[in-house]
């Protein structure tokens, strides 16, 4: 009967849709569970590793800090300076409508320190180091290097995850602080040239406006971004299937997920902290 077959088709569509939601929910719970396990195991190896005569490798932490932090300084500085100048241009242009362009320092200093530095640094590090982490882990997984570590009695979390996590948690806030300074300095130069305010007056206003809380707001977010970038890179890298194509897929996915997570977390953090 045509009516019956139409009902059956509708029913099967509903069932398929429900199944899809169910599978998606289970996958999401699995991912969060995986994050929890990774954090738990990282803390375990960080504190109990030395007791088990398997400490986290300090050399690896420094190597990762070099890769994640020091080598990212030029690009972070360049983009931070650009953001600082861009905020100054837009701020002066907007405030000129009300004849209040001298108040531009308020907008620049608060938005740089509370928002833009952490965000732009997080996005840059996600693109640079989050993708590298996912690519490295997935290649190691495909080449059986992770299995080789396990059978040698070397826990992959201690050997690979903890150094990256520590390095990321130290270097991302550090880069964010650097970004604060560079963006404010670049904006200061533009403001001085455009409005004729002296550098000393600009910095004096900036320091007066900013509180320690504003600084911590940005650095706190950067620490959360560091954890997110590392976990997303590792979970994606470890879930690779297939060969080179699989590595490409998980690397792209890691970057997209990390940037999305950073933007959403940024908004939630700002909402919660400003209530």
């Amino acid at each position: 009967m045509p009516a019956d077959s139409s009902n059956e088709a509708q029913e099967s569509t509903v069932i398929r849709f429900t199944e899809k939601i169910g599978r998606g929910t289970i996958s999401a719970i699995e991912v969060f569970g995986h994050w929890g396990v990774l954090i738990g195991e990282s803390v375990y190896w960080l504190f109990l590793g030395p007791k088990l005569k398997q400490p986290v490798r300090t050399n690896a932490v420094f190597a990762q800090m070099m890769e994640i932090g020091i080598r990212a300084i030029p690009i972070v500085a360049l983009l931070s300076a650009t953001i600082g100048v861009m905020l100054a241009i837009q701020g002066i242009h907007t405030l000129r409508t009300f004849g209040a362009e001298s108040r531009v320092v308020v907008g620049i200093s608060l938005s740089v320190v509370r928002e833009f530095s952490a965000l732009i640094t997080g996005i840059l590090v996600a693109g640079r180091s989050g993708s590298a982490l996912a690519a490295r882990l997935s290649t190691m997984q495909i080449n059986q290097e992770i299995d080789a570590l396990r059978v040698m009695g070397i826990h992959p979390v201690r050997y690979l995850v903890v150094p990256s996590l520590i390095a990321m948690m130290v270097m991302l806030p550090s880069l964010t602080f650097l970004s604060d300074l560079v963006a404010l300095y670049a904006a200061g130069i533009f403001v001085s040239l455009d409005l004729g305010i002296s550098q000393a007056a600009y910095w004096s206003q900036t320091i007066e406006i900013l509180s320690v809380g504003d600084l911590w707001h940005g650095l706190g977010k950067a620490s959360i971004f560091a954890v997110l970038i590392t976990l997303i890179g590792i979970v994606n890298g470890a879930s690779v299937t297939g060969g080179a194509e699989g590595v490409g897929k998980v690397t792209t996915r890691a970057v997209v997920q990390a940037i999305s997570a950073i933007v959403v977390t940024d908004m939630l953090f700002a909402f919660v902290v400003t209530r």
């Binding site: 088990l52 398997q54 290649t139 190691m140 080449n143 059986q144 290097e145 299995d147 080789a148 396990r150 059978v151 040698m152 009695g153 070397i154 826990h155």
Partner: protein
Amino acid sequence: MMTELTADTPLAIEVTGLVTHYGPRKILNGIDFDVREGEIMVIMGGSGSGKSTLMRHLLSLEQRTAGTMKLLGQDVAELDVKGRTELSKKIGVAFQSGALFSSMSVGENIKLPLAEHTKLDDLTQDIMARMKLEVVDLAGFEDLMPSELSGGMIKRAAMARAIIMDPKILFCDEPSAGLDPVVASALDDLILKLRDAMRMSIVVVTHELDSAFKIADRITVLDRGDILMCGTVDEIRGSSNQRIQNILNRRTEEEIIDADEYLARLTGTDYGPQTDTPL
């Protein structure tokens, strides 16, 4: 020369009733398997027979559904983190792909277990790594990166890393796969040398019949998750089991296909006999 293996020779590996599933699919159907100290056990079987899965279980890289597994007299399931780490020092593995760390030089790869599990200084580690490289005929290659090595050299470097801690059990996954006959034969000789010189128990997973017959003390033939036969080279060669003979003679199993049943399976319908319609 090797020591005579007898029924009294202690067991290095003892697996009882090993069952494993991948999702709903049963891969190993209650495997009983043992390897004596100083014995070379070759695991053979066709693709999908479960030999790689068995190997991964022996290396504790998979969770089993049922069964027990003892390595060097220790029940693996009962070991804590420290116990597992201690056991891993007595086990060496040469993976099929080599699994050398691409970011490290050959020397650093080989030294890694020493660096992680011993307090030896760098110089001593270097000396030991060079000694093992000499054993596998790769002396002077310690500063090269894995990407600069040929397939046979990667396998030999992996072997050097596997024996750096002088393990009691050595696992080799397809050691001669993809190598030319001369290099493959040299690797077989190396495995024999390791057994004789260091009295290692060695488990080799391989497809290569010549290699298996050359090195094996016993051969275990797996088929569809079951052990078809376990015996000496002569016992395996003399077996009248058709499936074993198919493997030895590289013949595929003959299947009589019912066309109607086949079509019904493909279409998912009760197709039934279609005598008038030519297929």
